[in-house]
């Protein structure tokens, strides 16, 4: 008896599309049982010292950015801020694994990754301030808008990577999402499309333990989120998300494999959100202090200091330099957001269509008249 399976069907002419191709890369699909680490291992010796110092500096500045932004929400200067405190290693190291021509597709918690792409730190807060949806030019920074609906930016990354590959451009797209996002349909559709199209795209899941209040055990029954890659025929990788050089190493490997035609990778970074989901959340309702305290011990900045100080890679001078840079940025954030932004109400109609519809022209005239009437009352 002949047993047919999908490999037999693949031998049927025309069964598999030749244009998009299938995986020829020999990278193993299953993630290792334990997350990859660099700090505290021999791999550290092979890591570029300048990269390590740069990672450290950016972690420190990023931590201060998270703190200052959270403070600004308490002062009513930002509408909301989902802090990535404790997750800075994922943010910084992931963005640093990209080259200039690559694209980042961030989720709403990934402001620091956006900043690490070179976007001005204040412009990166435009959405969260509430003055406009994106403050930065996505094309100029090759960074998509911060995406609020979960995982919906993942198929965009696939499409952009696919288009770039068709154009023959060596461009890779990285999309970042959280553990909750892996339950969404768009995540799975994006993985499947990426695999079938062999698109140069990397998926980074920052597993911080909770989707707002729902713990991972109630989110997924998989052995790890990285295991989800296997069903799509792409490699899954597990990394300590608080180990910045490890995140950088895993993502650099995945990004370069994608660039060289090896197709997509799903990376799960194990990390923790030590603050609440946003300033509007009360995390004490769903997790206990011991758990938070344990993760505070596994802090990405402390880990760097613990392992790099004895090697002389981090010295007092670097610590001071990073702290000064962080304070200067915090001061700039306070100064910039001290006053309310001056916004043009007529901009509401500016970018709905290339050309406003007759109905929008009419409504714009209505608002203009209301503004004129207000101004007249004000002048009196």
């Amino acid at each position: 008896m002949t047993v047919l399976d999908h490999r037999h069907l693949a031998a049927v002419p025309g069964w598999l599309p030749g244009a998009t191709g299938h995986r020829s890369d020999p990278a193993p699909l299953l993630p290792d049982a334990s997350p990859l680490r660099v700090l505290g291992t021999s791999a550290l010796e092979k890591t570029d010292p300048e990269l390590l110092r740069e990672l450290y500096r950016r972690l420190v500045v990023g931590r201060r950015y998270n703190q200052q932004a959270t403070t600004l929400t308490k002062q009513g200067r930002l509408a909301v801020y989902p802090a990535s405190t404790g997750q800075e290693a994922c943010q910084v190291a992931a963005a640093m694994a990209l080259r200039e021509q690559d694209w980042l597709f961030p989720s709403y918690r990934d402001t620091l990754a956006v900043v690490a792409r070179g976007v001005d730190p204040l412009e990166a807060l435009t959405l969260l301030r509430g003055s406009a949806h994106t403050g930065y030019d996505p094309r100029a920074s090759r960074t998509a808008p911060l995406c609020t609906p979960l995982a919906t930016q993942a198929p965009h990354a696939v499409g952009l990577a696919h288009a770039a590959r068709l154009a023959g451009d060596p461009v890779v797209a990285l999309t970042m999402l959280g553990d909750g996002g892996t339950s969404e349909g768009d995540f799975h559709e994006a993985l499947n499309f990426a695999a079938v199209l062999n698109a140069p795209v990397v998926f980074l899941v920052q597993n911080n333990g909770y989707a707002i209040s729902v713990p991972l055990t109630q989110q997924s029954a998989a052995p790890s989120l990285a295991h989800k890659a296997v069903g799509y025929g792409i490699p899954g990788r597990l990394v300590d998300g608080n180990d910045a050089p490890a995140v950088h190493a895993v993502l650099t490997e995945a990004v370069e494999r994608a660039r060289n035609g090896g197709g997509p990778t799903l990376v799960e970074a194990l990390t923790y959100r030590v603050e609440a989901h946003t300033n509007a959340d009360d995390a004490t309702r769903y997790r206990d202090e011991d758990e938070v305290a344990a993760w505070r011990e596994h802090d990405p900045i402390q880990l760097m200091e613990r392992h790099l100080r004895p090697l002389g890679l981090i010295d007092d001078e670097l610590v001071q330099q990073a702290a000064d840079e962080a304070e200067a940025l915090a001061a700039r954030m306070r100064a910039e957001f001290h006053a309310d932004a001056e916004l043009d109400p007529m901009s509401l109609f500016a970018h709905v269509y290339a050309e406003p519809t007759p109905q929008l022209r009419e409504q714009a005239a209505q608002l203009a008249a209301e503004l004129a009437a207000e101004a007249e009352v004000h002048d009196r």
Binding site: G14, P17, G18, A19, T20, A132, H133, T134, D137, P138, R139, A144, P145, P149, T152, A154, P155, H156, A157, V158, G159, L160, A161, H162, A163, A164, L166, A167, A173, G185, D186, E189, A190, N192, F193, V196, L197, S347, A350, H351, V352, Y353, A354, T357, P358, Q359
Partner: protein
């Protein structure tokens, strides 16, 4: 002995079905612009379940006319990324109700990307959706879903009723720098007519007066337009001289033409097969009342499908507005005289 003319030498004036005109529009757009990419489930080897994409993969290759995995959100979401990189994707959603899994991509991203990015990332995506009933399809194959799209700012919503418009409006939609939901009245796919592909492509957003008349105007679009023309013909026996206006585009809405016609005749009936409550007809009737109240001799009436889930095919003829239901409405307009 005669030789068959080369395909390229096809005359610009042709007699074809609407399906063939749509196919020609896709082919011509792909020839004219290498950034136009067609994608969807079954669009490649099969040429689409309605054959609208027939032969495109053979002519342009499987990258330009791509058979995708079966996942509508994935199809449209991938198209978003492709458009961000400079392509003009033309997406096929196989049937009206099959587009619903993609609504989050459509509503949250496709419709809003220009606005979210202050004009930096416009998305020139055309989403082709065969829609409407009257073909004996079982459930999920006959929805008239236009109101979902017209209610979403940032989308253009276009629907042809003639073979010529099928070609011209699809070319215009693909050329548009904004996303267009292009609704194809599937029961008109096989209707034949003569059209001229060289007639030029009109910008979307203009209604067309298909028939002049002095008693009242029937305002409609897409699949209901031929029914209105039939009703107008039948109305002559009652002594009614009906105008028929084809909106062609629901967004932008050609209020100027609609109001001009309504003011000249003073009576209007809006006809569509989608459910009436919260439907496009409600919006059109309200606008006419707001803008033309003093020119109206009677209230604006609507003739629509019932407010029910799309019925099983053996009962659909009771749901879809036919000539009699339209003439009944016209009769109700006459009491003032």
């Amino acid at each position: 002995m005669t030789t068959a003319p080369a395909l390229d030498a096809a005359p610009s004036v042709r007699t074809t079905t609407m399906a063939q005109a749509l196919n020609a529009a896709l082919r011509d757009a792909m020839k004219a612009d290498p950034t136009v990419h067609v994608m969807g489930e079954d669009v490649g080897q099969l040429g689409g379940v309605f054959r609208i994409t027939d032969g495109l993969t053979a002519e342009f290759g499987p990258d330009r006319c791509l058979d995708t995995p079966l996942a509508e959100a994935g199809i449209l979401g991938t198209a978003v990324g492709m458009a961000m990189y400079g392509l003009r994707p033309v997406v096929e959603m196989q049937f009206d109700a099959f587009a619903y899994p993609a609504l989050e991509q459509l509503f949250s991203h496709v419709a809003k990307m220009r606005n979210r990015t202050a004009g930096k990332l416009p998305l020139p995506i055309t989403i082709r959706i065969p829609y409407g009933g009257g073909i004996g399809g079982v459930e999920h194959h006959s929805d008239a879903s236009e109101a979902y799209y017209t209610h979403t700012p940032g989308l253009h919503v276009v629907t042809p009723a003639t073979v010529a418009d099928a070609y011209g409006l699809l070319r215009a939609s693909i050329a548009s720098d904004d996303p267009v939901v292009f609704l194809e009245p599937k029961r008109l796919y096989w209707g034949k007519d003569t059209w001229d592909s060289a007639a030029g492509v009109e910008p979307i957003g203009r209604a067309a007066l298909r028939r002049t008349g002095r008693s009242a105007v029937l305002i409609s679009y897409g699949p209901s337009l031929p029914v209105c023309l039939e009703a107008a013909e039948a109305a002559k026996a009652e002594g009614w001289d009906l105008a028929v206006l084809d909106l062609r585009s629901l967004v932008p809405f050609d209020e100027e033409t609609v109001c001009e016609v309504v003011r000249s005749v003073g009576r209007a009936v809006v006809v569509h097969e989608a459910s009436g409550f919260g439907g496009a007809g409600a919006e059109i009737a309200a606008r006419i009342t707001e803008k033309c109240f003093h020119h109206l001799a009677a209230p604006v009436l609507r003739v629509t499908g019932f407010d029910i889930p799309y019925p099983p095919p053996m009962l659909e003829h009771h749901h879809l507005p036919g000539v009699d239901r339209i003439l009944d409405a016209v009769a109700r307009l006459q009491w003032e005289d």
